[in-house]
């Protein structure tokens, strides 16, 4: 691999450091698989850690769904797992809040941010733009290990005697700031904050690397308008991360000072247990502003990679060029921009000035426009395509379906007047689980099934994949559709039990139904886990380009080595969506094929 040994220091060839940059063929196991600087290995590390977290997050939700579905049941059989959190056959109400908090935190940050972006940005950016590796392999490695440390801290906090953080994933003060308010705001909250600080460092290192790589290391010919939409999506996701995570850091830093150093940024005139606290002058609304300035871009950090993955897979499997390539980029740019100026729609009922509320409502509803452009383009791409129903394709179509279903209720929630009725109810829970939770998961599944052959050189089992898809797809709708009705009826979220309200008694059955569906959908994921692990070792061997796709990663060997291409990096001549081009011999023309070789299909303006 002599071509990879070139020093980047253009003007320092005599520098001693240049000699240290040599590629080592016989790397020690520890450096090859554990402290690896290879983007493909780091991607797999993120993926596997993310999958483990997803099962933990799902298990937590199954436990609280059992509580919600069968509030009268005795849960002694859970005692071997939960220990003293089950008291006399009843789930501890404060632990219930801990479960909800940790479920949200784990899913939003550890699975759908690190697990999704971390996996696919790392894996696909160098492969699809034609780079040997990330701009800085070392920072990339650090990014994973900060995430790993953060995971350890967050995981350990589940086993604290006082319970994990319990103030919700949004950790609103004063609840999160005062240990006397709830046991989870003691050591659990401290560990939550430490874990999130490490997570932010990891995320920033990753994002900085992704942006630098996309800007600087594209292969010749790969202009920004020839980039696959996946790369555009990861690029914008990383920009959102760089701009919003530091704000969360500031926000949490002030919370740390309030918790441990006696400041009053968020605390004012509070009585806890009959005792007046000394804190004067703080503002809990300030926290909400700072938190949601991250929090709203964060939901796009979760969903944008899904946009990219799904666009790519739909075009490949519909055997058609993506409809409106530039409109897709434009709508992603629009969504990214808007994501920074809509945060206060999470705060309509916080006592904010109603005039401000209507401004934020207006901006929020504008998001429907680029979102609709995307949905229209996906459907138009599918329209009259030669659709190949592979498993990743099914998950991509499922993504579009869930994104529409969840997006429609966003228009209702974005109205500040309608929000007065449905805020903080299960309607909100149903909305965001469909539009960002399940959708992003579907994007992730689609990506795993689609790029598994490139990751492990083998195919995942198709039959198990279909079973997994249908159980998950039907399961998700069975969980979240009824939840809308529960929400409209006024059920508040985060409540341990509603049995004391006669009004809500009639909804016991629907809750049981939701819980049953949720647990079945969670159990269906074990099919995926089995398929994933089994296929790594025993799956059918993959060919170099199993989906007959155009992008550069399929020009590498079946299992790309360190440096990705054994020879020189391919040069790019065309956009990535030349599927079913009239006159072409095959129904796809990869990006590295020059126009001079495809005379029969060239359009008048197609010149090298």
């Amino acid at each position: 691999m002599a071509s990879t040994d070139i020093s980047l220091h253009k003007d320092v060839h005599h520098d001693h450091e240049a000699h240290d940059d040599h590629d080592h063929h016989d790397q020690h196991f520890i450096f090859k698989y554990i402290f690896s600087q290879d983007h493909k290995v780091i991607a797999k590390q993120f993926l596997i850690t993310g999958i483990i977290w997803a099962f933990i997050g799902g298990a937590l939700s199954s436990i609280f769904r059992i509580q919600l579905g069968w509030p009268q049941a005795t849960l002694e059989w859970l005692e071997p797992i939960l220990g003293k959190w089950v008291e006399g056959g009843k789930l501890n109400p404060e632990f219930y809040l801990g479960l909800v908090t940790m479920h949200g935190t784990i899913m939003v940050f550890f699975v759908l941010t690190a697990g999704l972006s971390g996996t696919f940005s790392n894996f696909l950016i160098p492969l699809q733009i034609g780079a040997r590796d990330m701009a800085s392999g070392f920072l990339n490695m650090l990014s994973y290990w900060f995430f790993f440390l953060s995971s350890i801290v967050m995981f350990l906090s589940l086993f604290l005697e006082t319970g994990p953080a319990s103030a919700g994933w949004t950790i609103y003060p004063p609840l999160s700031a005062l240990p006397q308010a709830i046991p989870g705001s003691g050591a659990g909250m401290t560990m939550w904050i430490v874990a999130m600080a490490l997570f932010i460092v990891s995320s920033l290192l990753g994002s900085i690397n992704y942006i630098t790589t996309v800007i600087n290391l594209r292969t010749p010919g790969m202009s920004m308008t020839k980039l696959p939409l996946t790369i555009w999506a990861f690029f914008l996701t990383a920009i959102l991360g760089v701009l919003s995570f530091p704000v969360l850091f500031s926000c949490v830093l002030l919370l740390i000072f309030d918790r441990s150093f006696g400041t009053s940024f968020y605390l004012s005139e509070i009585y806890v247990a009959g005792e007046a606290l000394a804190n004067v002058g703080g503002s809990p609304i300030l926290f909400q502003h700072l938190f949601w300035f991250l929090g709203h871009p964060e939901v796009y950090i979760v969903i944008l990679p899904g946009f990219g993955i799904v666009s790519e897979i739909i075009a490949t499997n519909a055997r058609k060029p993506i409809f409106g390539y530039r409109a897709m980029i434009g709508s992603m740019l629009g969504i990214s921009l808007l994501s920074f100026i809509v945060w206060a729609h999470h705060m309509f009922v916080s006592g904010m000035n109603p005039f401000l509320g209507s401004v934020f409502m207006f901006l929020t509803l504008i998001i429907a426009v680029p979102s609709a452009v995307k949905v229209f383009n996906w459907i138009a791409t599918l329209w009259r395509g030669n659709i190949v129903f592979t498993v990743p394709m099914l998950f991509s179509i499922g993504f579009v379906s869930l994104f529409i279903s969840g997006g429609l209720t966003g228009i209702i929630l974005g109205n500040s007047a309608l929000d007065i009725q449905v805020h903080n109810t299960y309607f909100v829970v149903a909305h965001f689980h469909l539009v960002m939770g399940s959708s992003a998961f579907f994007g992730m599944f689609a990506g795993v099934y689609h790029w598994f052959p490139k990751m492990f050189g083998r195919m995942m089992d198709e039959k198990l994949g279909y079973v997994h898809f249908w159980l998950t797809f039907i399961g998700v709708y069975m969980v979240f559709m009824p939840m809308h009705y529960v929400g409209i009826a006024g059920f508040p979220r985060r409540y341990y039990s509603w049995t004391s309200f006669d009004l809500f008694q009639s909804f016991a059955n629907i809750n049981m139904y939701i819980s049953l569906a949720a647990i079945i959908a969670w159990l269906a994921q074990f099919i995926f886990a089995f398929n994933f692990i089994y296929s790594i070792f025993r799956g059918r061997r993959a060919s170099a380009n199993p989906w007959r796709s155009n992008t550069l990663e399929w020009t590498t060997p079946v299992l790309p080595g360190h440096g990705n291409w054994p020879g020189p990096i391919p040069v790019v001549y065309r956009w990535p969506y030349d599927y079913s081009k009239p006159g072409a011999e095959e129904d796809f023309i990869p990006q590295h094929i020059p126009y001079s070789q495809t005379q029969s299909s060239n359009l008048p303006h197609d010149k090298d």
Binding site: T4, D20, D21, I211, I215, P246, F265, G282, L286, G563
Partner: protein, 193 residues
């Protein structure tokens, strides 16, 4: 760097590390944007303790601006392969940066003497914010000082010269940014007091 792969060409013509540094600077800017906008929002809500800024902040600002000048001179010296001057200017930058930090520490002492506290029952967010802004900036300044120290050490090893400017270039950008950030914070605090 085991197994690190480097590519010769970049599609933007900018060194990737320099690009990454700018992104780091952007993320630091976002942090301070959050703090200063939180400051404004919180101030508008009232219950805000008014007090005079410590007098020596002006002197500190002067010290930091001067250190930026020396940093730039050090960069020019490296460009002209004037290695002795380079070391002198870097030491001066380091000294002035350290003096700035000591000055900030004394400003904190001055605040405590006037009973403007960071935390505790007598603290008001207006004081706490001042400590946070100066403290977080101070923390970043320490990272800048460490960076200068690294450049200085490599200067003594003849690794900083006209054909190996990347390191000192990055250091200069970062140090100017930290200086500029402080000037912004100082103006922000002066205008809001």
């Amino acid at each position: 760097m085991v197994g690190a792969i480097v590519q010769k060409q970049t599609s933007s013509g900018v060194h990737p590390l320099k690009f990454a540094l700018w992104l780091i600077i952007i993320s630091i800017i976002m942090m301070f944007a959050a703090f200063t906008s939180a400051y404004i929002v919180r101030k508008e809500e009232g219950n805000w303790l008014e007090f005079d800024l410590p007098n020596n902040l002006v002197i500190n600002t002067g010290l930091l601006v001067l250190s930026s000048v020396f940093m730039q001179l050090a960069y020019f010296a490296a460009k002209k392969d004037n290695l002795n001057q380079l070391k002198i200017y870097l030491v001066l930058t380091l000294a002035l940066g350290t003096a700035f930090l000591i000055g900030q520490w004394e400003a904190w002492g001055d605040l405590v003497n006037r009973k403007v506290f960071f935390g505790g029952s007598d603290a008001n967010p207006s004081g706490s914010f001042l400590y946070v802004l100066t403290g977080v900036h101070g923390f970043h300044l320490i990272t800048g000082l460490i960076f200068i120290l690294i450049v200085l050490i490599s200067g003594f090893r003849f690794k900083v010269h006209s054909k190996n400017l990347l390191r000192i270039e990055l250091c200069t950008i970062y140090w100017h940014f930290l200086g500029g950030l402080w000037v912004y914070l100082y103006l922000f605090l002066t205008l809001n007091h």
